[in-house]
Amino acid sequence: MHEMGLACSVVTEVERVLSGFGPNARVVTVTLQVGKLRAVVPEAMTFCFEAASMGTRAQGAMLLIEPIPVRVRCITCDREWEAEALKFFCPDCEGPVQVLSGKELLLRTIEVDDREE
């Protein structure tokens, strides 16, 4: 939903990390972890990253997006499962659930090609 703003955050962070490398270093891949509750559309994210990285040291990097499934746990009976539909109660005891994962929005790794030219 906020792919452009997120893409700009990624570019800022990539440039911060790259400042620790030499001037010829370039980014090969950037890996994000995105929870499925986050309404981030991968195609839009990729497109926005290409646009946001243009003219920066992140330009040309490949963006990898790892989706994180929505895992929930029943507060009443402790059952844990991966939620497919957005109905947040336990199929066994109808108890309320807590969300364990699915809201992540993390920049995990940046792969840098830092060979000397």
Binding site: F21, D114, E116
Partner: protein
């Protein structure tokens, strides 16, 4: 961005606090199989200045053509927003101000609920309002006659942000004298999707859903209803004219968020407003009773 203030002058021009946040922890992994602490791949470890030829890790077991370094970052992409939100939250806690974030589709009745609230308790509870809109001061203008502090945030003249983010709210909070407040109501930009994504330092998120929007909206816009502590169904005075079942709306909200409180109100008729005010008073009392604590 544009922040327009009515009411009090700024007493806290230094907000948000100028803090230097540490860089996130990171480590660096080479693809040739060992780890270095951050900085060892860059100029710092070799004493070379910026612009010096890349020292990089030595190519002991990697060919030049396949020499890449993987940097572990683990940076939350909303970290900058969340830091501002945490600063707002600790400031509100320090001054014992209960802050709510009102969210809904455009036209669900957020401003009308605020007006109904101020008409009832504007003299009893010390309230300030922050209005978030893409453009116009229309909402702040509606609140101004109540004589309480109100700050209008406009996110952009030609289609700005569709939500309030914490840095904007921090600027608006900085224009309020928190020492003279019990309650801060932030009216978010009308939008049933994006505002749910952004922590603005509030104590409680509240979603409003008007009966004219249809019973299915909690199921269609789940994140908003999942994030809210309170769901307020508005415009109940219109129910006689609609084929809408209030119990179905309640059931759909509970299907997404069984822990949420649900109220049904009409700002026009006054129905349910007592319950809404009781909920606000509970929140004010809860924040007032909190022991002052260290910032998060």
């Amino acid at each position: 961005m544009n922040v327009r203030a009515h009411g009090w002058p700024s007493h806290a021009a230094d907000f948000p606090p100028k803090r230097r946040f540490p860089d996130p922890p990171a480590s660096i992994r080479h693809h040739h199989g060992h780890d270095h602490p951050v900085g060892c791949a860059g100029a710092a470890s070799t004493g070379a200045g910026p612009g010096a030829p890349a020292p990089g890790p030595q190519s002991d077991d990697a060919t030049q053509s396949h020499h890449t370094t993987e940097v572990q970052v683990h940076e939350n992409l909303l970290a900058a927003n969340d830091r501002h939100a945490a600063a707002i939250r600790s400031l509100l806690r320090e001054h014992k101000v209960f802050a709510v974030n009102l969210m809904s589709s455009p036209g669900a009745g957020k401003t009308a609920l605020i007006e109904a609230t101020l008409a009832r308790v504007g003299h009893e509870i010390r309230v300030a309002v922050i209005e978030g809109d893409i453009e116009t001061t229309a909402d702040a203008d509606r609140i101004a006659p109540f004589g309480i502090p109100v700050v209008q945030i406009n996110t952009g003249p030609f289609g700005g942000d569709c939500h309030l983010a914490a840095p904007l709210v921090a600027g608006a909070v900085g224009q309020l004298d928190l020492r003279c407040l019990d309650l801060l109501i932030v009216e978010n930009v009308g939008n049933l999707v994006c505002p749910a994504e952004f922590d603005i330092g509030e104590h409680r998120k509240i979603v409003l859903l008007s009966v004219t929007e249809g019973e299915d909206k909690p199921l269609k816009y789940p994140l908003m209803f999942l994030e809210a502590s309170l769901a307020v169904i508005t415009k109940t005075d219109l129910l006689p004219y609609l084929e809408i079942d209030l119990d179905v709306i309640r059931a759909n909200i509970r299907a997404i968020n069984p822990a949420a409180h649900v109220l049904a109100v009409s700002a026009r008729s006054g129905e349910g407003i007592d319950s809404w005010l009781a909920w606000l008073r509970w929140g004010i009392a809860e924040v007032g009773a909190e022991a002052p604590s260290a910032p998060d």
